[in-house]
Amino acid sequence: MKFTLKIWRQSGPEKSGHFETYEAHDIQAEMSFLEMLDVLNEQITISGGQPVNFDSDCREGICGMCSLVVNGIPHGGQKGTTVCQLHMRSFADGQTITIEPWRAKAFPVLKDLVVDRSAFDRIIQSGGYISVNTGGAPDANALPISKDQAEMAFDAAACIGCGACVAACKNSSAMLFAGAKVTHLNTLPQGHPEKYSRAVSIVVSMDKEGFGACTVTGACAAVCPKEIPLDVISKLNRDYAVGILKGVSA
């Protein structure tokens, strides 16, 4: 297969970027999107150019590093799939593909398609943890948790922190990510003591990082590779409201 690729190139954080067009040849249908970029980068390197920078690590949909907007859609629009798990067979031979970085003020571009997502780390530091003395691992099932709660927490915990939700949102809101963390920890007994301060701190931290508010468009959940449901945002809103009414502060 071959493709015409329109790729965002930007040499550094403060530099202005532009689109560059490339022709990618010898692409096999079973290659992943990132493998296709590897092939392109080899072709660019051989011809003496600067390879295209992009993030990746596990390449099996579990680490949350890959972060490409493909034809305007974060992760490329295949339901429940990270871009590293997207295969070239889902594109038409000869198609033009536009590749851009996540775009949000809180995720500044570092180089080409690589953005700085440390804002998410700081949100986690503000409340995405539980304070316990770990000691030895407790026995499995020593702490009874109902099936519904366990499932809700587990579904929310599937979030890999990729940031596609922010990239898809017209307000660059991080509510799906933050809601996933709050739902994960606040539905489990281990997270209960810090339930309200967690919700309040995470919201304050999100605002400080410059993410927008939620207008309930649902774009985030539509692109989320882990299919985190909008419910988690509702849960965050509720825990925040109750926290404020109880006088909890960040």
Binding site: K6, G17, F19, V69, N71, G72, I73, P74, G77, T98, E100, R103, A104, K105, A106, A168, K170, N171, S172, S173, M175, V203, V204, M206, D207, G210, F211, G212, A213, C214, T215, V216, T217, G218, A219, C220, A222, V223, P229, L230, D231, I233, S234, K235, L236, N237, R238, D239, Y240, A241, I244, L245, K246, G247, S249
Partner: protein, 226 residues
């Protein structure tokens, strides 16, 4: 007080303000519509109702100031949220952005809200203050009361007035179709269990409000009510 102030400081707090004020305004829209439906009963009933509303100036002005406060809170918070949402987006936008499955109504809340604001001002000048057609507002009925029925009928015999009302109701419909389900989400009351029920409620709500509100000017323009 300190806790309440927090609602105005964070994005989630502001959304709660939007939801509470939006819910109150939604309630007003429903009550206002039910009251106005009395035009289909006749002149006496509508004029009697209008007279009753104005019989206690203390309650009347209390309600008016309350509504004004709610509308102002809703608008100021909406503008503050919209501005910070725009800032959050950053300077560069996508080459060919996708809407990622979002509805049109959810994307144009500020625009539909601003049309409603313009409409509210026109509507008040038209039927409350009475400066748009002073001769319509000066009408009296047999009891010597303000002839609200006559004023409404005369106003809606003018095609462009009806057009303006109907267009505004289309935008109100957009605003409320998304607004009702969004407010449950903002209040933290929405989840997959109830979400299809809430979506249906939002649909029935905006269709009923749109149809009811348009029925008045349109049936007058068509000569069904005179």
């Amino acid at each position: 007080m300190k806790a309440l102030a927090a609602f105005f400081r964070t994005s989630v707090g502001k959304k709660l303000v939007m939801a509470v004020t939006g819910l109150l305004l939604y309630g007003f829209v429903v009550v206002h519509l039910i009251g106005n439906m009395q035009i289909f009963i006749g002149r006496e009933t509508l004029n009697g109702y209008a007279h009753f509303l104005k019989s206690e100036p203390f309650i009347l002005w209390g309600a008016r100031l309350g509504l004004l406060t709610i509308v102002c809170l809703h608008i100021v918070t909406a503008i503050s949220l919209s501005a910070s949402n725009r800032r959050a987006r950053g300077a560069t936008s996508y080459d060919n952005p996708s809407h990622n499955g979002s509805t049109l109504a959810s994307r144009i809340m500020l625009a539909s809200g601003l049309v409603i604001l313009f409409f509210i001002v026109f509507h008040l000048l038209h039927l409350t203050v009475g400066v748009i057609f002073p001769d319509h507002s000066a009408l009296k009925d047999d009891k010597g009361h303000h002839d609200v029925y006559g004023m409404v009928v005369k106003g809606f015999q003018i095609w462009w007035v009806v057009g303006l009302y109907v267009v505004s109701m289309v935008l109100l419909g957009f605003h409320l179709s998304h607004g009702l389900q969004a407010l449950f989400q903002s209040l933290g009351l929405k989840n997959s269990k109830y979400s299809s029920l809430i979506d249906k409620l939002a649909l029935v709500g905006w269709v009923a409000i749109f149809a009811g509100n348009c029925a008045i000017p349109v049936s007058i323009l068509l000569g069904l009510v005179k």
